[in-house]
């Protein structure tokens, strides 16, 4: 188990280094010279050179990359070219918003998806299955930002059930924060819930027709106990993998959800930085997303080896 996780950790590290290179190279590929842009048209070459040095744009590319990596490791991701605020600070203030939103959405999606998937698998081919499967297929076909617009229009404004926008920090007032995040989290979680439901159903159907389930029933174990004790745990493995893999989609979803509900989160920071070509921020944002993806998938691997004893020997098969 230790060896397996060490290998996965090493692979994660390699991915992270590669990702940092891609980000670094991508930012250098942007058209235009940010130092010139910042200095203005009438700046002297000395001023431009000074700005260049401040932005870390002097020296060879290798030098620049190593310097970038070095300061990134010490938590220094540069400053926003637009506001001068340190990128780390910008990320620190926006990340919790997106973090809570995503966590909320994942919890909702996993609970609802697994419950619905189990229901569908147990009543396979009957009414409940058709209803749940149909709903999940429709959910997969609905763009969640459009659903968000409709929800604001009808649920928040029309019926006044939820606040249409605004954000309350979780640290300030947890209950009101939860209240404000509910509608965005539901919207963000819809697609993930549909995917979780379908995977749970498929794996559950597989497990319920497996030989060991028949053997358990031949022992006199009831159908319900078989589902809970034998099938659910196996499905949990599948769901874990899905959540890890769908993280990228969730981040993309969070960006647009935040925009629709006016949440001051990481997504908003991303979009603002793109439209203003604030590239130290873009760089930092991308690095953080990549890091989050790699760390969370590492956590999934650890959980995996806890749940499935076979993994401790052979490793997670993909």
């Amino acid at each position: 188990m230790g060896r397996y996780l060490a290998v996965r950790f090493g692979q994660g590290l390699v991915t992270l280094v590669l990702a940092s290179m891609v980000v670094f190279a991508g930012v250098r590929a942007l058209p235009g010279d940010p130092a010139l842009a910042l200095a203005g048209e009438e700046a002297t070459p000395e001023t431009v050179a000074a700005i260049r040095a401040r932005l870390g744009l002097d020296g060879s590319l290798v030098e620049q990359y190593l310097r970038f990596l070095g300061s990134a490791l010490t938590g220094d991701l540069g400053e926003s070219t637009r506001t001068g605020t340190p990128v780390t600070e910008l990320i620190a203030t926006t990340l919790p918003v997106t973090g809570w939103l995503s966590l909320y959405a994942i919890v909702v999606a996993v609970v609802a998806g697994m419950a619905a998937g189990t229901l569908a698998a147990v009543y396979r081919g009957r009414g409940a299955d058709l209803a749940v499967s149909g709903l999940s297929l429709v959910s997969l076909s609905v763009p969640n930002f459009w659903l968000g617009l409709l929800a604001i229009l009808y649920l928040a404004v029309g019926l006044g059930l939820f606040p249409a926008s605004g954000y309350v920090a979780v640290g300030e007032d947890p209950l009101r924060a939860l209240w404000h995040l509910t509608l965005p989290a539901l919207i963000l979680g819809t697609g993930l819930a549909a995917i979780v439901m379908r995977q749970t159903r498929a794996s559950m159907v597989d497990t319920l027709t497996a030989d060991f389930v028949r053997t358990a029933r031949a022992k006199g174990v009831s159908r319900g106990a078989v589902v809970v004790r034998h099938a659910l745990r196996n499905s949990l493995l599948v769901v874990l993998t899905i959540v890890g893999l769908q993280l990228g989609g969730l981040v993309s979803g969070a960006v647009v959800t935040e925009r629709i509900f006016g949440l001051p989160g990481f997504g908003k920071l991303t979009l603002d930085s793109v439209f203003t070509r604030d590239y130290p921020v873009i760089q930092g944002v991308v690095l953080v997303v990549t890091l989050a993806y790699i760390v969370i998938n590492l956590v999934v691997d650890v959980l995996y080896s806890v749940i499935d004893p076979r993994v401790r020997v052979a490793g997670r098969s993909q």
Partner: protein
Amino acid sequence: MTVTETVAPPGRGERGRVLAAFLRSRSGVAGAVLLAVVVLAALLAPVLAPYSPGAVHFETPFQLPRTVGFPLGTDDLGRDVLSRILFGARASLQVGLLAVALAVLVGTPLGLAAGWWRAADVVVSRLTDLTLAFPFLIIAVGLAAISGASLAGAAVALGVAQVPTMIRVVRAETLRLREREFVLAARAMDASGPRVLLTHVLPNAASSVIVQATVIMPVAVIGEALLSFLGLGIQPPDPSLGIMLSDAQQYLYRAPWAAVFPGVAIVLICLAFNLVGDALRDALAPGARR
């Protein structure tokens, strides 16, 4: 030597069986019909649309649906919602097809190689991990920043983001097939790796690739709408369902229909592919064959 078993009369063949199983699924048939309607509508948009998608009618903004001349109403500039949806759907399918083509053309060979050669697997899995670490929105952000937002950029971002899943599917199939005895038999004839991959592995993996393509298509269609909605995809004045939604958001309470109908169009397109894909997957499953 005597033949004790007789050979059964000719069957309908593999394709016939899959088709029969597909036609038995009601949702699959419904999806196929819906798909035909969607594709025809998009193809015939120039013929079907009452107006050009950009045609403005300043004298008639915010017309309600079912107004004479504007079956689905108009937006703030008096543009016909129906015409814009038809052309927008065309763009959606274009982006979707490009993204799927990219994912299939890049993902299939990489998946085959990764499943067959250990060295290729090491390289490909690092590349896969790397790509997965960048959400499609981030890739689109990068592309938009470098070369400006465009339909092609959106398609590339969406396609690239789907390459890892395609690799995963094809690699898994290759790993499953490489230990099958007909592949071993071919290797014992000294057939080369590429030959075995092309003659035995690819034909047997093709159905999984097709099913995966039907999964990617709706993801790409929604992705296009999302990117265009954020201003990272198709640029005005070109029609796009995402741009329509983004415009409509500004006068959401004044003209909700301008937000509702483009969304419904997206749902119908995606539902068509999802229904067909699901039924196809079931029809291709071994259980449905025997």
